[in-house]
Structures are given as C-alpha cells and as structure tokens.
Amino acid sequence: MRWFWIDRFVEFTGGQRAVAVKNITLSEPHVSDYWPGTDYLPTSLMIEGFAQTGGILVAEAGGFRHRVVLAKISEVRISANPQAGQTVRYTTVLEQFNTDGAFVTGTADVEGECIGQVKLVFAHLNDRFDAELFLPGQLLQMLQQWRFFDVAQQPDGTPSAVPDALLADPLEVKTAQPAV
C-alpha cells in the first residue's frame, strides 16, 4: 500500500504550478469511518493532498535530485471538507525555491468553490539525514500512476520528459533471501 492522497495530476507547469485531483469515495475507511454519518475527507488528509501536489512541484523544480519533505504548515484554512462522491482539486503554486527548500501556496476547490488554502514550507534534506525516502524507481512509478507525464510541461510548453535522476537507479524488487 502506498500513501496516495491524490489520484492524478491534471495540470503541471514545471517550476510554477501543479494541479491534482482526488475523488472521494465511501469505500475509503477514513471517509466512511472517521466521523460516522458525515462521510467526508478529514482535514489532515486534505493537507496530505496539498503536500503531495506541492511536494512533486518542488521535487520537479530540483530535477528530482533532492529529498523533499514537508517541513512546516505555515498556514491552513479549511472552510469545508469534500464529501463522498465529490472531487477535490488541489492547486499549488511554487512561490520560492532555493537550495534549502521551497515555499508553496495552495488552494482546494470542489465544483469551483474554494474550500481550503495553505502555505507550506518544504525542506531539502541535507547530508545529516541519511534516510532514503524513495528508490528512484518507486517515485517514477508513482508519477506514472498519477499520470504526471500526460500533463507535465515546462513553462515554454515543452512536454516534460522522465528526469535522468529517476532513471539512474531502476526499481529494485527486494526478495527474501533464504537462510544459509
């Protein structure tokens, strides 16, 4: 199981803006069981949706060479939660990018009505942290599942190609080794 809080990208302009959608369904236990009888996407998981949409925007701006993590939720305003049967659309804008990290703003809307706004700070993990967040192949697979390459383009309109950094180390399938 992966931690997917968006279903697909619908717009992506490298270094500038990313838009992704998530369909809310009753078959998700966090929707049907979080507050029985209400059937909505909890706010914390909306923030995850913003973070995934904005996080990929930040990662792409750095050529997918940095380990990007959500470091701080500077501001969040949620006026309504999307209900089962609705589609939430996350729009994120890259406000600033530097070697330390990035600043992203975002809005969420359902059927054209704005229901949330965030300001997020992302950090690039430095050498003090040796944890691997993804194998490059895993991240590439996630991008493909999100239909990222169907919509991603550069500001001049050129379609975005699979970045070299994600091709460097193909997905490894770890298998149990027999005991000797």
Partner: protein, 131 residues
Amino acid sequence: MSHYNQEVYNKISLVLIDALGVDEDEICPEATLIGDLGAESIDFLDIVYNLEKTFDVPIPRGELIPDDILTSAEFVQEGKVTPDGILQLKQRMPFADLSTFKENPVVQNFGNLLTVKDMCCFIEGKLQKAA
C-alpha cells in the same frame, strides 16, 4: 546599531507572529528568535521568505545567518569559532551584537544570538542598500 525604525519593527513583528505562532506581547526588541520565541531551523526558511515578500528585498542564503562560516573547518575548531572566524562574522553581520558570543564562541550557542532588534537592523541595512 542601537536604534531601529518602528515601522520596520512592526512589520517584522507581524512576520514573526505568522511564522512562529507567537503572541504580539511576546515580541520585544531584545527577544531572541530561538531562545525566547521558539524558532526552529526550518522557521528561518519561512521567516526569510516572508521578509523578502514584506520588504521586497532579496535575502541570499547565508546573509542573515552565515552558516558557511559556522560550518567551516577553517573558522571553527573544537566546536568554537576561532578569532579569525569572529572577524568574519563581524564583517558579515554588522547588524548583530557579537560581544556576548565572543566571550564563549561555542557554535551551538550561535543560534540563540539573533534578536528581533538585530533583524530590524539587518532589514534596515538591506533597505538602505536598495534605495
């Protein structure tokens, strides 16, 4: 620099209230960002970004906190900033009062040096250069 512009101070206070979630009455000129206001390293990304937006001045990395000096093998030995390192810091941080830090220049203590007043002086210097 011991004086600061009240308008700059007020704007910086708003940035700090937003970035650190502190109350207005917690902010005073002598308050240190880390020790008194609870700033963490990641907050400085947020603070610098909002200072740039508020005052419309670019703040290159390392200008507010010259971490290249603080992590340099040349200027830091056995966890302390060397006399040459202190000179470098003075040149790079004319807005900050380094006198207390200089007495026991342990790098770990550096983070608690910067005060709200220092931030004001830093921004005023940037605004004067930009004018």
